[in-house]
């Protein structure tokens, strides 16, 4: 039988999260982001960059974030808190397809 470990990987701290994001966006200078960094100074939320971020969080933390989560977060720390709260809650899905 086939089993895939679906358990949510708990993020121990924000530093780990920041490191993983810096690795994902290759062109980004390393060691610059902090929890207070304004997201919009470091990321342009055009469609492709938003998708890269959403995919990164989904693959690595098994958490579904939305474009609104990105837009509504002012700092890296805000976004981390959204992801962490979604990871901590057991709700499987947070996005609905519009009708």
């Amino acid at each position: 039988m086939y089993f895939c470990e679906n358990s949510v990987k708990l993020m121990i701290d924000i530093h780990q999260f920041i490191t993983s994001v810096e690795e994902e966006f290759e062109e980004m200078p390393k060691g610059v982001l902090t929890s207070e960094s304004p997201l919009r100074e470091h990321f342009t939320w055009d469609s492709i960059n938003a998708l890269i971020f959403i995919a990164h969080v989904n693959v690595n933390y098994n958490v579904e974030i939305t474009a609104e989560d990105l837009i509504n977060s002012t700092t890296v720390g805000d976004l981390y808190n959204i992801i962490k709260s979604k990871a901590d809650s057991s709700s499987p899905s947070t996005v609905t397809v519009p009708s």
Partner: protein
């Protein structure tokens, strides 16, 4: 739940045809150089095949079928079922399958009909034609699947224009009591029907002069109501959410492990999406072939085209165990586990 085995059906051959014309996304003037770099790297489409005006999906499928029947040594008179899966049919009325039946010289005793599905269409089509052959004892059938999507993308819509390519395919199936059963897991969520849509031209919204009016949706996205509208974010979220559990449940039902599978051939949606699904399922990269860099997102044709492009030699030589998975427009998605042995798989045909 639409999870079921299908015994006694063998895939004997797969062939694909593409238009000769190549469009290089580097030459798409509507993207800046930086956007082109990001697009080609992340979405994964460097070039794609574009049908000239008037060339239809059925023309591509016909070329593929003539080649494949010749290589198989099949007599058209023996074919008793033809199923055409596409969302780019020749006419609003009639069905395209009958036109193909006549062009290929198949007998009047052959049943032929269309199915309207896109990204999931190949997997759904296999289940439909296979089930019907199994139930009716039909010995030979042709599944013809593909799309000409480039005629219905807006040239000033950067969310669709550089993404899609055209292709038509044919899969030859035979009744074979010794064939290992296929296993299917087919799903639908019609709540998302607007996520990929051409709004006008059907009966809900008849064509009017306004249908041709180009509308600016946002910066870089201008299209009219007869051109495809793609909510990329919605389709992306849907695919990340649904494909992994669908494939896991399929493998569970088929009694297979990840290690049992030689190749996972996924619908060629875009590289970021496919790589995300691959990583979520922990599939090693070498088990996940691609064709989108060369051919783009070819809608319903993408799974058989990827087989023709990337694993044709392996398919011809010996036995393979495959999982095929299609997901997208509808919203509709489905996967199949199947085993093949020495499938006739000619080189991709250009017309």
């Amino acid at each position: 739940m639409a999870i079921f085995p299908l015994p006694g059906i063998r895939i004997s051959g797969i062939a694909s045809a593409v238009p000769r014309g190549v469009y290089h996304n580097r030459s798409y003037e509507y993207l800046s150089d930086k956007e082109k770099d990001l697009f080609i790297k992340t979405v994964g489409v460097a070039k794609r095949r574009v049908a000239p005006k008037g060339m239809t999906t059925s023309d591509l499928c016909e070329a593929a079928a003539i080649k494949l029947m010749h290589e198989l040594g099949w007599d058209p008179a023996d074919i008793e079922i033809l199923v055409f899966v596409s969302q780019s049919r020749d006419y609003i009325i009639p069905a395209t399958a009958g036109i193909l039946q006549e062009k290929l010289g198949l007998p009047k005793s052959c049943m032929a009909y269309d199915i309207s599905l896109g990204c999931s269409g190949y997997v759904y089509g296999l289940s439909t034609i296979g089930s019907q052959m199994h139930m009716a004892g039909i010995k030979k059938g042709l599944l013809m699947v593909g799309d000409v999507s480039t005629q219905t993308t807006g040239p000033r819509d950067k969310s669709t224009f550089p993404l899609f390519g055209d292709a038509g395919t044919v899969t030859a199936l035979e009744l074979d009591p010794r064939a290992a059963p296929m296993h299917f897991n087919l799903q639908t969520d019609g709540k998302g029907y607007k996520a990929i849509i051409i709004p006008d031209g059907g009966i809900r919204n008849l064509v009017t002069p306004e249908s041709f009016t180009e509308e600016k949706i946002t910066e870089g996205i201008e299209r009219n109501r007869l051109q495809i509208a793609l909510d990329g974010m919605e389709v992306f979220q849907f695919s990340l959410r649904e494909v992994q559990p669908n494939i896991e449940r399929l493998l569970q039902d088929a009694g297979k492990d990840l290690e049992d599978i030689d190749y996972f051939v996924l619908h060629q949606a875009n590289r970021l999406m496919n790589e995300s699904i691959r990583k979520k399922l922990r599939i090693p990269p070498e088990k996940c072939p691609y064709s989108m860099e060369e051919y783009g997102n070819t809608s319903s044709a993408s799974i058989p085209l990827t087989i023709s492009h990337a694993i044709r030699d392996v398919m011809q030589e010996g036995k393979t165990r495959l999982v095929l998975s299609g997901f997208g427009v509808g919203l509709s998605w489905g996967s199949v586990y199947l085993e093949t042995e020495k499938v006739v798989c000619p080189e991709i045909i250009e017309i």
